[in-house]
């Protein structure tokens, strides 16, 4: 598969590049952004896939989030694909901002006229990784996934549907239960048809209830005053309830608005600006999962992810009698 470099900029000691290619899954030209940290010049690096939300392209994340600096520090390659196929000339694709162009919802559509091109799920989970691994100095075993809003939904379902494939998963203000929210219902009925059972395969809450695989450790950040939270589009409580019941480890943080730390702001969309600290944390979450032996800057802590399979998990530490 031929990659065409669209742009390349030096950034934080590495390179922020944008490539274009002919996608076999999506049957169109697709762009994606990839950040190569300085470490990539000499070593294989772990990869983090960032899935953007509604209306975004590959540009939003790389221009607004400021992820390059922490990525450079932790030696992570960050891949930010587009959110849907483009220029397919499907009727109605541009009619809505929350369905069609820029709103792929990371599913493999089964309905016409979408099913030919709208195969974002396969693109993200299969075609893109192959492409990335073939063209960049990646460590193919170390992949992780994250995203915002619709991308958060995408990240969650990719991780839940592919146990063990992703070493870390995190999300910012994700759509946790699309089957129960207007966005999801609109998109799923359009892409997947009226049969709700077909929707279940792409609903993080449902998938979590049935999840069976290597232990996950999910980190979710959500702005308290996010208007879509109050509009019941995101429904994190549903996911939490299920995960609590099924013992899927999740740490969910409701972040307040705070001007001096620039946490998630009211505006769901512009949370990009506000999520830099969180993003750093998420990046570190991913970095941790790859067990990159690197010094964490003082103000950043992340949680550790296990790379080992359950069989190798060390035994639960028993009572230790202090030897003092």
């Amino acid at each position: 598969m031929a990659l065409t470099q669209v742009s390349s900029n030096r950034c934080a000691g590495g390179f922020q590049k944008v490539f274009e290619h002919e996608s076999t899954e999506l049957k169109c030209k697709m762009k994606f952004a990839v950040y190569l940290p300085p470490k990539a010049e000499t070593d294989k690096c772990p990869v983090m896939y960032w899935l953007s939300g509604l209306t975004c392209t590959e540009q939003n994340f790389i221009t607004k989030a400021g992820s390059q600096v922490p990525a450079a520090e932790h030696g992570l390659i960050v891949v930010a694909p587009d959110t849907s196929p483009r220029g397919c000339n499907i009727e109605g694709e541009d009619e809505n901002w929350d369905f069609g162009t820029g709103a792929g919802f990371y599913v493999n559509a089964t309905q016409d006229p979408w099913k030919t091109n709208y195969r974002m799920y396969s693109y993200i989970t299969e075609e893109l990784p192959k492409l990335i691994n073939a063209n960049f100095p990646t460590d193919p075993d170390k992949m992780s996934i994250s995203g915002h809003s619709m991308g958060g939904h995408g990240a969650l379902i990719c991780a839940l549907k592919n146990p063990g494939k992703y070493k870390a998963v995190s999300a910012f203000a994700p759509i946790c239960n699309p089957m129960q929210c207007p966005w999801g219902q609109k998109a799923f009925s359009g892409y997947l048809g009226p049969d709700r059972s077909a929707w279940e395969a792409y609903d993080a809450t449902v998938l979590a209830a049935a999840y069976c695989g290597p232990q996950l450790d999910v980190l979710i950040d959500q702005g308290r005053d996010d208007q879509f939270l109050s509009a019941s589009q995101l429904l994190p409580d549903n996911l939490i309830a299920v995960c609590s019941e099924k013992k899927v480890p999740v740490v969910f943080r409701l972040q307040p608005v705070s001007s001096n730390t620039r946490l998630l702001t009211d505006q769901h969309d512009s949370c990009m600006l506000g999520l830099r600290p969180q993003l750093l944390l998420h990046l570190l979450l991913h970095e941790r999962s790859h067990q990159a032996p690197r010094q964490v800057p003082q103000r950043l802590i992340s949680h550790h992810r296990r790379c080992q399979s359950p069989a190798e998990r060390p035994p639960f530490p028993g009572n230790q009698i202090p030897q003092l």
Binding site: D217, I240, V250, L254, P256, Q298, I301, Q320, L324
Partner: protein
């Protein structure tokens, strides 16, 4: 060795330098100076000549043109062959110079010692003779007094005699006068009447023997001076023994090795050493004075046993021979070595970089200092691991820097002037992870601590009123909590807390002076993770200053890892079973903080220490 010889020796060296001659003359008093010399191949002059040794001392010490004097120019300047020999000889000479310098300093030392001893001996002698003189003069006085008495007695006797004689004379005078009177009496009849009694009286009187011998002799009894007595005095040991000051490390807890010397040639049959303990508060009256013990020995040293540890003893010694007992030496103080301290295991703490050891003195009286000894042990340690000591520790605790991941054996000794005590019981310290114990005096009265000290319980029973009344200023009064005694080292510390699903707890850290009447997390001196059980669900808070972020945790942690990093200013919490990060506080901990553990409702939790921090804890 007199000056001449020294001079001669010096000259010898100088001349040798000039002449390059080896000598074997025994004029050199110190044979050692010769030892280094080899025989030079040059033999210019006959060794036997004495002339070579009779040079006048050179003022400037330069080799005089001796060769010239002796008319041997040519030989002195044979440089070519002489060079290497010259060097060796120069070395020899340098060696000799050093030896001589040492010798001179040694002499100086001897001189000083002799002077000292002389001074001491002089003093003793003076005292001795003073004593003798005193005794003699006393004798003299006594004798004089005796004589005086005698004189008086004699005079009295004689005076009596005189009186008696006087009386006799008076009587006889009277008789004679009576007789004359009778004789002159014209009346014959009267005469006849009186003459017979008068005659009779005269006859009686005449028969009385007048003792005309002196009542006493005119001689005085002057016995000879009791010379043997004085002789004995002169011979007696008046040189006082001197007890040496206590040799370091010669004492034990219960014994002292006492040494003394007698600077005299007198023979000694035996010595007697007296000792008694010095009590802090000796009462004025002697009835309660400490018992004086006595030991008799023949040598000039003695091992006194059965003593108390860390106690002062007063000692003095006398020397005895046939002539008597010497005066007692001056009283000297010796101290026995203290008892070993007792390490307080529960109050010790450690972390990978250091250990804090605390102990009890083990002695009722204060000691001078403590010495802490440590030695690395375990599989990694070399067989001949050197024991390190930390000396002059003033208080009953010591913070020692160690290396991470090792095992150490540590013990403590108490030290006083008598020396160090024997070792205390050894404590084993492992610098893996952080170890601490719970500070029982900070525990809320309702909180019970298990026997092993690592599990806390909050029972159902009501708070006993007696406990509430107690003014325990260090205990928590509202929050049922307790603090841990974390080692005050600003590094990285990690510990784990085991709880039940239903335990409502508060765990984290708090500064040492955190308000005891406040709840953990409700003030700005404590940071804690709090678990609340509501009918609907489990709630988790991460409290500081009464504020917590809004968090949901789907899998309830039952074993929580707490990681404190002073340098980074972070306090992190983990679900150990899942290796899941829960939350991190960011704070610059200005003061040292202590781990804190609280229970909000009846329940229990267990603290686990000494665990090596997992990689993710401080990643």
């Amino acid at each position: 060795m007199d000056l001449h010889d020294i001079r001669g020796g010096r000259l010898d060296v100088i001349t040798e330098e000039a002449e390059e001659l080896s000598r074997e003359s025994t004029n050199m008093a110190d044979g050692g100076l010769r030892a280094a010399r080899g025989v030079s191949t040059f033999q210019r002059f006959s060794v036997d000549t004495d002339e070579s040794l009779c040079f006048e001392p050179c003022e400037d010490g330069l080799p005089s043109p001796i060769g010239a004097e002796r008319g041997l120019h040519g030989d002195v300047f044979e440089v070519a062959e002489a060079e290497s020999d010259g060097v060796t000889i120069r070395k020899q000479l340098q060696g000799k110079v050093t030896e001589m310098e040492n010798f001179a300093s040694h002499l100086e030392e001897i001189f000083l010692t002799v002077e000292e001893n002389f001074g001491r001996q002089e003093q003793h002698l003076e005292q001795h003779y003073n004593d003798v003189l005193q005794t003699l003069s006393q004798r003299c006085d006594d004798r004089a007094a005796g004589l005086e008495e005698e004189k008086k007695g004699k005079l009295e006797a004689l005076y009596k005699q005189l009186l008696a004689c006087g009386q006799a004379m008076d009587v006889s005078k009277e008789l004679i006068e009576t007789a004359q009177e009778v004789y002159r009496c014209p009346d014959e009849r009267l005469f006849l009447k009186a003459v017979m009694p008068t005659m009779r009286r005269i006859e009686e009187f005449a028969e009385e023997q007048v003792d005309l011998t002196l009542a006493t002799s005119l001689e005085f009894n002057t016995p000879l001076a009791n010379l043997p007595d004085v002789k004995t005095m002169m011979d007696s040991i008046n040189i006082v023994p001197v007890i040496n000051p206590q040799t370091p490390n010669s004492a034990t807890q219960t014994s002292l090795r006492v040494c003394w010397s007698l600077f005299s040639d007198d023979t000694v049959e035996y010595y007697e050493l007296y000792y008694r303990p010095v009590l802090e508060d000796t009462p004025a009256d002697s009835t309660c004075a400490p018992h004086v013990s006595k030991v008799r020995v023949k040598e000039t040293h003695c091992m006194v046993t059965d003593l108390l540890p860390n106690a002062q003893y007063e000692l003095w010694v006398t020397a005895t021979n046939t002539t008597g007992i010497s005066p007692a030496s001056e009283k000297t103080l010796y101290v026995t070595v203290p008892s070993p301290p007792v390490i307080k295991q529960r109050e010790c703490a450690s972390c990978p970089e250091a250990a804090l050891i605390r102990w009890e003195s083990g002695n009722t009286d204060p000691v001078d200092s403590y010495t802490v000894e440590l030695r690395e042990t375990g599989t990694g340690a070399p067989e001949s691991a050197i024991a390190e000591s930390v000396v002059a520790v003033p208080t009953c605790q010591c913070l020692i820097q160690l290396q991470a991941g090792r095992r150490y054996l540590i013990c403590v000794r108490a030290v006083n002037i008598g020396g160090p005590s024997s070792r205390s019981e050894v404590i084993s310290v492992s610098t893996t992870g952080t170890l601490f114990s719970l500070l029982e005096d900070t525990a809320h009265p309702c909180l019970c601590i298990s026997e092993d000290g690592f599990t806390i319980f909050y029972g159902e029973e009501e708070l006993p009123i007696s406990a509430m009344a107690l003014e325990d200023n260090n205990a928590f009064t509202r929050c049922v909590a307790v603090l841990g005694g974390l080692i005050p080292v600003r590094g990285r510390h990690y510990w784990e807390v085991e709880v039940d699903d239903g335990t409502e707890f508060r765990i984290g850290v708090a500064s040492e002076d955190t308000e005891r009447n406040s709840y953990l997390g409700a003030n700005n001196t404590s940071w804690c993770m709090r678990h609340i059980l509501t009918p609907a669900r489990h709630k988790y808070e991460f409290l500081h200053n009464g504020w917590s972020p809004d968090l949901r945790i789907t899998v309830n942690p039952v074993r929580i890892g707490v990681a404190l990093d002073y340098e980074r200013g972070t306090l992190s919490f983990f679900n150990v079973a899942l290796e899941q990060h829960l939350h991190t506080f960011q704070c610059h901990f200005q003061n040292h903080v202590q781990p804190c553990f609280g229970l909000d409702n009846p329940g229990a939790l267990t603290v686990h220490t000494g665990i090596e921090a997992p990689k993710y804890a401080f990643a």
